[in-house]
């Protein structure tokens, strides 16, 4: 092992050049240990990807030692897996190292998920991602080559990484998205792009699609924690109270007071109850707005039977339960803006907004 070479200035602000500098050293280490094994190059790539994902956490000057440790682990994992596979040809169950074996399976599944995800990118996406993150090409240099700008290349890299995460999670779970809408929704979540999430109506899709609901957790877990939006699942009576209390809390943090708070909480209570009574399950999301001015938006979504006659549902006194029909028209009067869409068999979405600077 040669001592760490004098550090060169990174070409790129994100330091990707340093990670790419590790490549020759990694190739030497891998060749020394596995020779011309067909997996040699995969091991190098796998190591680079692991180092890249950990880069933010690595102390300056520790990149090389970290990469060396990582490549040894990757190689050891591969040998142990091959060894285990060989033994398991004879033995179905090996009680000597049960936990370790499980760990190995997880590690190799992650590894193959990374390869699958890379292979699912468009060729051009993959080339740019690898050129930047593995070969260490600066965004400016990539931009010059394609007659683009560094900003545009950076934006494309960001989209590609988001797509890579989606494909990685899909490969890891071993599922194929059940609908055409799944990938656009997952991508909007992965890139933490709120405008896009609204365009593809991601919250509704997550209610309707079990697969995406499950995958959304690891994808959204990577984004910053949102403190200006709350989703309350609605399935039973206590959720009605939970939804209106959540709305009140968020709104009072945003500066709503007195009567406005009470009107908001009352309207949330009504739309949440509609979900429990008519649809049995759905969600209420509450979001703070700062444009065009400070306010709060409440969206109640359900996957129920839908409302056949919207005009009638908005008349006072109309209801199919309990002889009580103030839910929707009453909520409309309590809020500043009110909109409802309903698709028979698909469900209902009620969107309502209250602005903050209007005193009730």
């Amino acid at each position: 092992m040669t001592p760490a070479p004098a550090r060169e200035e990174p070409e790129d602000a994100d330091g990707a050049a340093h990670v790419a500098d590790l490549m020759p050293m990694l190739r030497r280490i891998v060749a020394a240990r596995v020779g011309q094994h067909p997996a040699a190059e995969d091991i190098v790539q796998e190591t680079l990807l692991r180092v890249l994902t950990a880069e933010d956490r690595i102390e300056p000057g520790m990149l090389e030692p970290y990469a060396i440790t990582t490549v040894r682990n990757v190689i050891a994992t591969m040998w142990r897996k091959q060894d285990r596979d060989a033994r398991n040809q004879h033995r179905v169950h090996d009680p000597s190292e049960p936990e370790d074996a499980e760990e190995l399976v997880v590690a190799s599944e992650e590894q193959s998920a990374i390869s699958v995800a890379l292979s699912r990118l468009a060729d051009r996406e993959r080339q740019i991602l690898l050129a930047h993150e593995v070969s260490g090409r600066a965004t400016q240099s990539l931009a010059d080559e394609t007659g683009s700008t560094a900003g545009a290349v950076a934006a494309q890299l960001k989209r590609t990484r988001a797509r890579m995460r989606v494909e990685y999670v899909l490969a890891l779970e071993g599922v194929e998205p059940p609908t055409d809408r799944c990938r656009p929704v997952l991508l909007a979540l992965s890139s933490a792009d709120r405008r896009r999430q609204r365009e593809v109506d991601a919250p509704r899709h997550l209610l309707e699609c079990e697969v995406c609901a499950r995958l959304s957790e690891p994808l959204m877990g990577r984004g910053p924690v949102r403190t200006d939006e709350i989703h309350v699942p609605i399935g039973a009576d206590p959720d009605i109270v939970a939804a209106r209390q959540a709305a009140r809390e968020l709104a009072s943090r945003a500066g709503f007071t007195g009567t406005d708070l009470t009107m908001l909480a009352t309207a949330v209570s009504e739309v949440a109850r509609n979900i429990v009574r008519f649809a049995s399950s759905g969600e209420v999301s509450i979001e703070l707005l700062d444009r065009p001015r400070a306010g709060i938006r409440v969206v109640a979504r359900d996957t129920g039977p839908g409302i056949g006659d919207l005009d009638r549902a908005l008349e006072d006194g109309f209801s199919t339960y309990n002889g009580l029909g103030l839910g929707l028209p009453g909520s409309r009067r309590l809020m500043d803006e009110f909109d409802i869409t309903s698709e028979p068999g698909q469900g209902t979405t009620v969107s309502m907004t209250k602005w903050i600077d209007r005193k009730g």
């Binding site: 007195g258 009567t259 708070l261 009470t262 009352t266 009504e270 006072d316 309990n322 103030l326 009453g330």
Partner: protein, 128 residues
């Protein structure tokens, strides 16, 4: 048949029942409260019922409706109901919602509610 000590309390003062709602109730809890109260009206032969809702930060259509139902049932069983303690913001929202208290008597607080019941008794009236 217990709505739990933390949510609601129902106390007897002579022939009057004083029910205090201590915290937000969901719909099922509201219905349980209604059933408990109606049962006790019969059990104690109450003539007056005061329901203190000062702790409620929201009275939505279901809560309004349930309070009115309690008052209707109580009336049929010979008791007068007064709702006390509706907060000003809550009252405002109820009006916007389109939900008043209908024919049910209301008073500012417990004391006023008691005075209202005493007044009815003094005049010999048995209506609200």
């Amino acid at each position: 048949m217990n709505s739990g000590p933390a949510l609601v309390s129902i106390l007897r003062q002579g022939d009057t029942l004083v029910a205090s709602v201590h915290t937000a109730l969901d719909d099922s809890e509201m219905v349980r409260f209604q059933n408990d109260l109606v049962r006790q009206i019969g059990e104690y032969r109450a003539r007056g019922v005061i329901i203190d809702v000062a702790a409620l930060d929201v009275i939505d259509s279901f809560a309004s409706r349930t309070l009115q139902t309690i008052a209707d049932i109580a009336r049929l069983r010979g008791a007068v109901t007064v709702i006390v303690g509706i907060q000003p913001e809550v009252a405002f929202a109820m009006v916007r919602l389109g939900m008043g208290m209908g024919e049910v008597a209301t008073a500012l607080d417990l004391e006023e509610g008691m005075a209202h019941l005493a007044g009815l008794r003094g005049s010999g009236a048995r209506r609200e």
